[in-house]
Amino acid sequence: MKSKRNLLALLVVFTLLFAVGSGAWAAALSAATGTAVEMGNGVITPAVWSAAREYDWYTAFSTRTERLTGQPVTLHSDFTVKANAARLTVSNEGVRELDVAINGQRLNLNTFFHQGIGVSSFDISDLIKYGPNTIDIEARGKPGGAATVAVEAPALTARIISINDIHGKIDPLPKAAAYVRAAKAAGGNVYFVDAGDDFSGNPVSDLNKGRPVVEVLNAMGTDLLAVGNHNFDHGPEATQARRAESIFSWLSANIAVADPTATPIQPFEPYKIFTTDLGQKIAFIGLTETPPSTGAKNIVGLRFTDPLAAAEERINELREQVNLVVLVSHNGLDFDERMAQAITGADLIVGGHSHTYLSAPAVVNGIPIIQAGSDARYLSDLVVRQAGAVTVTGGAAGGAFTVATAGMTAEDPGARAIVDDWNARMAPILDARLGYTPAPLNRDDRYAMDVSVGNLITDAMRDYMDAQIALTNNGGIRASIPAGDITMRQVYTVLPFGNFVMKFNLTGDQIRQIIEYSWNRDNRHQVDLQTSGLTYTVYTRPDGSIDHLDLKVNGQPIDPGAIYSVAVADYIGTGGGGYPLPGMATPVDLSSDVDAIIVGEYVKKIGTLNYAATAGRIRIKTAPIPVAVNKLNFYNSSSLLADLNGALVPLTGQATVLVSAEPTAYQYERSSTAPKNFAKVNAGTPIPLAALQQVGGGQVVGLGAILVANGYRPSYQNPQWFTNLLDRLTGLFGTGISSTGTSSLAASGASGAAVLFDEGHGQYYNAARLSSIASFLGDRGYNVGFTGPNTPLTAARLEGVKALVITTPGSVGAYTGEELAVLQSFVTGGGSVILASQTDYNNNSNPVELNNIAAAIGAAIRFNSDEVRDSSPNIDGTAVYSPLTDEFNPGYPDLLKVR
């Protein structure tokens, strides 16, 4: 590219005119463009720069004419060169002697004069320096002679070939390497630039943590790489190792090492400056996507800053030093276009990240932007010429800006050997033993239960993402693994899609919704999600739909309001299969490895696997067919009383009795110790077990027992009756809410749950023991919450709550006066409270505290210190403490309905 025609731009022209017949010499500094600048005392200081390009010295000229007196002409001038190369050209027409000194160093022009050459050019690159220079000219000759001395700087010409987003695809690179090598061999200033994202996307590269790519890039004559987000994918150690193996620079101006103790990654160079064969300087500045899309653990200890600000900072730093600024940006075309619009001082943007194939540069604000697709399918090839303005032309055949690797024929033998070697190594890598399974890892029954291969996959996902739960869809599990050694090839057969894994933080209720969706998806009514960390049982109705779900995390009932970390295949994480995850939450992490690699590494870590065909993580059970409530089981119940002017009396007219014991039932004072407030109901009067009282705007219900603790007998309709009761209390009765519909009640997490269970006062019946009814209610549209242990009741806590359930407080569970006032206000304001007592067996009841609450909120209902017994009927004919009853108040048929 170094040719005479490129030496066009004149920096300074000194013309010595020997005036004909006058005996006087004239010296002039003539301007080629007519742009005059102040010469002053001989200092040529360019005063007019192009507005957009301060360092563009090509437009600076000065003129001055001076008549001389026949003495030797001498001229001293200072001039500024913003380049590192220059030539001096002398054009002589009769000057006998001419001495020229640059920066005090005299040029030897003897040969020139002896040969009588009219025009000659001298390389003065070694004499000039970047910045201020001086020239001294002394000429002697006869009048009529003339000489022109010109300091010239050549135009900058560079060819920039680029690639981006290789993503491990090494197979096309030998052809690309031949192309780059041929371009460099042709001479000139040829730079091969990689705009990032070299890894992730090909097992050959991925299983070797990117080494094959770096080796080929080394063989290609790569000059630099801008760090992309996926350059971090194999972890910080691998990132630093690949970088150390590279014989080219990894650039990023917007990544800093914030904590050197937390990462082995050394600081990246922000830019690299190359010098052309003519001495001009080209700066390449690397820019990285921020925040980078890679696993969080890959970038610990690094700080990513705004790439636009970083670009501006570096351009300001460099533009007085270099002739050309190239931004190598791994930020995507959209960002690059916005950056070009906002920035000054950049000449070219070589981009990546969005995988955009630009057949010609997009020009924004005068700045060309190029990007070459992905996967090494294309190279971009630009010839950049700067002579004043920057022009960009295509460097490929026919002036094309891009060239497809598929269309290339020549291959670089060195790169080919590397690629062949890595591909050959892959067969043994794919077939190498990762681990061993004594039993087959089957997928066959995956639509009916958890299966061993699903359990392996989700265990690996959970381990990799450090999550509490992992879920993956059956459709992504494409094969089983036979008993014996496990190889990577087998794992790829099971997981061929290259899914990544995402991590979400989800509430227990959201997880329930996801499991519910998975079952109902497309009305399939079958298992769709394999699971780890979570076990679930689907209770089905005769038509296959869900009656209710039982979810457990590590053996504990899921808390609807608690947050769980959940790893999912990105297929469902981004809405595949219609899964509602994108609308539920944004992810908090994304794997940098694909699922097959994650499972392969997990197998290697575990060694010998121990998976049964199924592990009981997913069960399907048939729910009892719902029937109208015809019998309730008051297991471990006390009876109800009333307060009459401070005295405990039988509950007869103070509140409405909803359910009574059968006539055969009787009261039994089981505990002989305090607290004692035992009172007998009137002889012949049914023993009240459940009662309702309107208090202010709200309602208060007293229950002799909670009725719905885990383990209730499904053959009796306690949950249905309890739900019907809540329907009445919360105003849902008659709204036609579907069993799988969403509650119309407002909810904002546990504190705003429509139905709130108090477990903050030492209650035995806490979230763990009431998980079944919570799930049952959730399936029927209720937002169920628990206060959590040792949590006071406050007005804020009751915000949005429609019904509060208080079971027997524990020994440390006294309610404060402030709490009682809150409860009173809650009921007066329209809230409902269910107070549920229990048998006095073993002094487990606490009627005193419950009665204090009832009194505080203005209810007459009181609880006895007794146990209601019935020899017949009871649940098995012998358990007198577990009576059955169908003595319902006929005025409340809604409590007996089916829904």
């Binding site: 987003d165 993503h167 996307g201 996507e289 925040p291 980078p292 899309s293 890679t294 696993g295 969080a296 970038i299 995507g332 075309l333 959209d334 960002f335 276009e337 990240h353 969005s354 995988h355 955009t356 194939y357 630009l358 057949s359 997009a362 990007q371 697709g373 992905s374 996967d375 899609f497 990105d570 297929y571 981004t574 809405g575 595949g576 299969g577 219609g578 994108p582 609308g583 944004t586 992810p587 908090v588 992490d589 994304l590």
Partner: protein
């Protein structure tokens, strides 16, 4: 790592995803499945970035407001 929400359209259908998602994710979301992804993988369709006026592919990073046409 940040997952700020972003919105793109796929053949006119709005898709809400997040920073870090790729074209593949947008296609999965738009089709609620892998159909569009398979079309592209098999070469029977290409991904055109209407906003940029250029072709992209399944691995391309999404940006807010991007309009993708599968054709």
């Amino acid at each position: 790592m940040s997952f700020a929400p972003l919105e793109v359209s796929v053949n006119g259908k709005l898709v809400k995803l997040f920073h870090g998602a790729t074209v593949r994710h947008a296609l999965i979301n738009a089709a609620a499945g892998s159909e569009l992804v398979r079309l592209v993988q098999s070469g029977r369709a290409r991904v055109w970035d209407e906003t940029a006026g250029a072709e992209t592919d399944l691995g391309g990073a999404l940006y807010d407001g991007q309009k993708l046409i599968i054709k």
